[in-house]
């Protein structure tokens, strides 16, 4: 039974490695991911947002709504911890 697991894991791993063979090089400027909105961010973000930090310009301006959601997620995590852990528990 152990061998079945081993073979299944090995075959899945080989398939995953095979799937990455024809992916573009890391940092390739001609890859599809680098041709869509990245040039716009690199060339225009300073003029459009008046902020020299490109990462913050994307995080806090172009995708500000997403960051609002992230902050709400963290807020919800604190709220959940507060409700579960803080205060006395009612005895069953």
């Amino acid at each position: 039974m152990k061998f079945v697991h081993l073979i299944a894991t090995g075959v899945t791993g080989l398939l995953l490695v095979f799937g990455t063979v024809d992916m573009p090089e890391f940092g390739d400027p001609a890859s599809p991911a680098s041709r869509h909105v990245s040039p716009r961010y690199i060339e225009e973000s300073l003029a459009e947002t008046e902020v020299p930090n490109m990462v913050t310009a994307v995080l806090a301006d172009y995708r500000s709504y997403d960051t609002l959601g992230e902050t709400t997620v963290i807020f919800t995590a604190a709220l959940a911890c507060l409700l579960i852990l803080r205060g006395k528990r009612k005895e069953d």
Partner: protein, 138 residues
């Protein structure tokens, strides 16, 4: 374990380090839109300074300086600030979080600074709040 009295070395080092850690955290938040950093990172640095204080002096010392009620208010204040800036943009006639209409010198830069401060407040309060809840459980 945190109830135990720490040695004088730990206490002195923590007392000396905490102001500088907090100053650096504030710098990371305030300078987040011009250099590497931002609300999340600066908030974590600020929160870790309070965790260091509670390891050295006990959680009651931190609760005396930063009451739990204030912590809970801070947790929601940051999100409120963020969403509030978004709604102010709506009041000035633009889309949500479209800072271009704010009445400042560099409106987009100032809007980003505002939301970074909001994120920083929330993350700081959340880190300290979760830490407190975990070590005082039962």
């Amino acid at each position: 374990m945190l109830e135990e009295q720490q040695s004088v070395i730990v206490k002195t080092v923590a007392r000396l380090l905490v102001p500088f850690i907090q100053l650096f955290g504030l710098y990371v938040i305030i300078h987040g839109h011009a250099s590497p950093g931002g609300g999340f990172q600066g908030g974590v640095i600020l929160g870790s300074s309070f965790i260091l204080l509670s390891i050295a002096y006990g959680i009651d010392e931190v609760k005396r300086r930063l009451p739990l009620a204030a912590l809970t208010v801070f947790t929601s204040l940051g999100v409120f600030l963020y969403a509030g800036i978004g709604m102010i943009c709506v009041l000035w006639g633009a889309n949500v979080l479209d800072y271009g209409v704010l009445p400042f010198e560099q409106p987009r830069s100032m809007g980003m600074l505002g939301i970074e401060i909001g994120v920083g407040i929330t993350v700081m309060a959340v880190i300290v709040s979760i830490f407190h809840d975990l070590i005082t459980f039962e």
